[in-house]
Amino acid sequence: MGAASVADNLALLDRNAPLVESARARHARVARLAEAFGLELGGPDDRVDTLPVGTRQRIEIAGALAGEPDVLILDEPTAVLSPDETAALFAALRKQADAGAAIVLITHRLAEVFSGADRLTLLARGKTVKQCLISETTAAEIGGLLIAGSGAEETEKEEREEEKIFLEGEEGREPFEGRRGDARRPGATRPSKNAARSAAGVAANNLEVRNFRAAGTPPKQELLSFSLSPGELLVLLAIDGNGADAIASAVAGLTPFTGEVRVGRAALPSSGDPLAFRAAGGAFVPADRREEGLVLDLDLAENLALPDPPGRFFLDRAAMQTHALERIVAFAVRAPSPSTRAGALSGGNQQKLVLARELARSPRLVVAVHPTRGLDLAASAAVRARLAEACAAGASVLVVTSDPDEAFDYRGGVRVVTRGALSGEVAGGTPPAALGRLMAGLGA
């Protein structure tokens, strides 16, 4: 509850709290829980909505642990925690599991699985891929499976499923001493290979990102710097939840960021402004084409005419029709006519429609997030070909994907994002197991 104090929130979350409790006892609880779980919880009288999101998450975790539950389910609890806090959290979880609690931990991060769990269930695209004891497997094996899962043939129905690892603590199993502690983070940001050139002349690059951090990532997050020159294509390869999507949306102006983002000569406002991104020559292919890419209840011609429909006083329907037909043919969108509702198209054709609109204005920079997710092989190849064409025409392209095979199909640079940090360029021949370890944050 944002408008209440830390002490009051913890009193509400703690299911062992008495019905009536003095202010002093509530204050004492804050100190006791902070001490017991090694979590920084803020001052007892601080209003929760004035605290950073990480502290809020820690308060929720402390509140859940305070009640000493028999069953505890945690969904990505470490997203906003620092490595020290993650270690402390796992120590506390281990203690509760040893005391007889059953703990289910849902995480994208392989390192966490091997820092204290007893059993794991690996899910990929809604299916159980592996179930075993931690002692019977290795991080490399799971990393390989994770990659195989995400590279599997995707279908439209399953497009929203994400790979997740279920990690379970179990009653009565011995603790894994020495296994907790955070994984070494790979790929501290290196100066980009274009850094020297961009210092000489900013206008040389289509995208210039400096000391950048997307909003909502942990404050201790490393600052990113990279740049894209005309005709350059960079793939950010990451397991979902590692912040690659956040980088892309912040660059496209949809979410706030700190640091500096330049598209061409224009510096984008850090509050997030999609209009400024567009005005600077940016194009965006969002991950969720149905929510963010298209207006499903408008027809193809209308979607293709946005955001600047032709006509001074009245819509120039003839021009819209001609433009739509031309784009539909050029991008091989399979649709009965330009007046078909966008929502009536298949996923692949919707994606082609988004590309047809975004690439129509000869953009300087194209940001494409999971552009082939949920598409069949032919449609995926078509999407990649379109982005390559844009590249050949002088645009820079930034692609986010979670599929390693796909990443190398773009024939551009590939860098891995783990916990918001950017690796150096990954060579094309990197074996899947090593790539998996890199993506899972276990080091190369």
Partner: protein
């Protein structure tokens, strides 16, 4: 399939609501058929009756148009009542001072009224855009402020010194609108309202601005990502919506009352919103819904006079109708049609 259904649902709902009203007449010891007959004659049975229906429809049709504009851009303007009052107050304030050329005076009055309506919704629009204040709350609170302010004005700054009642000075007779046809009270105000509906329908369906507004209303996240100025477009829709409601208030003063008094609006803004919901935010369909509600209002007075069935029973109809249509639509949405 979708077109017949769109017409069918409201029509069936209207018929059901009328049937319900007729059967409720039994409670008032009247024959249901007699009640319906009185209702029909009182709304459409004579020149006077038709005049009465058209007179009542002006405010409802215009506020319904305002509600449509807001709904299509994805915002909910519940403050039409307050914007109507603001428009009426502006008309009553500038009207008495204007003599001379009636046409110029009328135009000035309506312009002031539309402007006042737009200004009255602006706080809610800006708060929604900048601070995420829910417009449903802010516009409804502005209604209360408008009602109180109008009451204060007719007792204070705008009070007619010659009269005994709390009311503003009357507009000059030359400026006020003449009846449209003999035997009825309707004035050209209703033509202005229908013209506004036609303009709005064209604006939404056939202009670049209308397409942008629709995109924002249909898919706000996509509109933002595509690069539409969603915040600015919503404020614009709010202002347009308020201007239409303000225009309705100005026409009420210009064409019907000639002055402002207290209480003044009596729910016209809410009925307009109901008409827009019944018309599924389509300007022309909503205008028909508004005409239907106006006929109901005019007819129910006659029904009370002739059969003793309270007119208040007919006031139930818009509410019941809107609920029925919304329920039908929610059901259609669930079944995926």
């Amino acid at each position: 399939m979708s077109v017949p259904r769109r017409v069918l649902v409201p029509a069936a709902a209207a018929a059901a609501a009328l049937a319900t009203l007729a059967s409720l007449a039994v409670l008032a010891d009247a024959s249901p058929l007699e009640a319906l007959r009185a209702l029909a004659l009182g709304s459409l049975g004579s020149r006077a009756a038709i005049g009465e229906t058209l007179l009542r429809s002006t405010g409802i049709v215009l506020t319904a148009a305002g509600a449509c504009l807001a709904l299509r851009a994805g915002v909910l303007n519940i403050g039409l009542e307050g914007q109507f009052l603001a428009g009426a107050a502006a008309a009553a304030a500038v009207g008495p001072a204007l003599a001379g050329m009636p046409l110029v005076a009328r135009a000035a009055i309506l312009l002031a009224a539309a402007l006042a309506g737009a200004l009255w919704v602006l706080p809610a629009a800006v708060l929604a855009a900048k601070r995420n204040v829910p417009e449903v709350l802010s516009t409804i609170l502005l209604n209360l402020i408008a009602a109180t302010a109008a009451g204060g004005l007719v007792r204070g700054a705008l009070r007619d010194p010659a009269g005994d009642y709390p009311q503003s000075r009357a507009l000059p007779d030359a400026v006020r609108l003449e009846p449209l046809f003999s035997g009825g009270r309707a004035t050209a105000a209703v033509l202005v309202a229908l013209l506004a509906v036609a303009v709005l329908a064209v604006l939404i369906a056939a202009t670049p601005l209308g397409l942008k507004l629709r995109a924002v209303g249909l898919a706000p996240a996509a509109a933002r990502a595509i690069g539409l100025a969603d915040g600015r477009l919503k404020v614009l829709a709010f202002a347009g919506s308020g201007a239409l409601a303000g225009l309705a208030g100005g026409l009420e003063v210009l064409g019907v009352t000639g002055r402002l008094y207290d209480p003044f609006a009596a729910g016209v803004g809410y009925t307009g919103l109901a008409a827009a919901l019944l018309g599924q935010a389509q300007p022309v369909a909503s205008a028909f819904a508004g005409l239907f509600f106006a006929a109901l209002g005019a007819g129910s007075s006659a029904m009370q006079r002739d059969t003793g069935v309270p007119a208040a029973l007919a006031a139930l109809v818009p509410g019941v109708l809107v609920l029925a249509v919304l329920a039908a639509r929610a059901r259609a949405g669930r079944s995926g049609s």
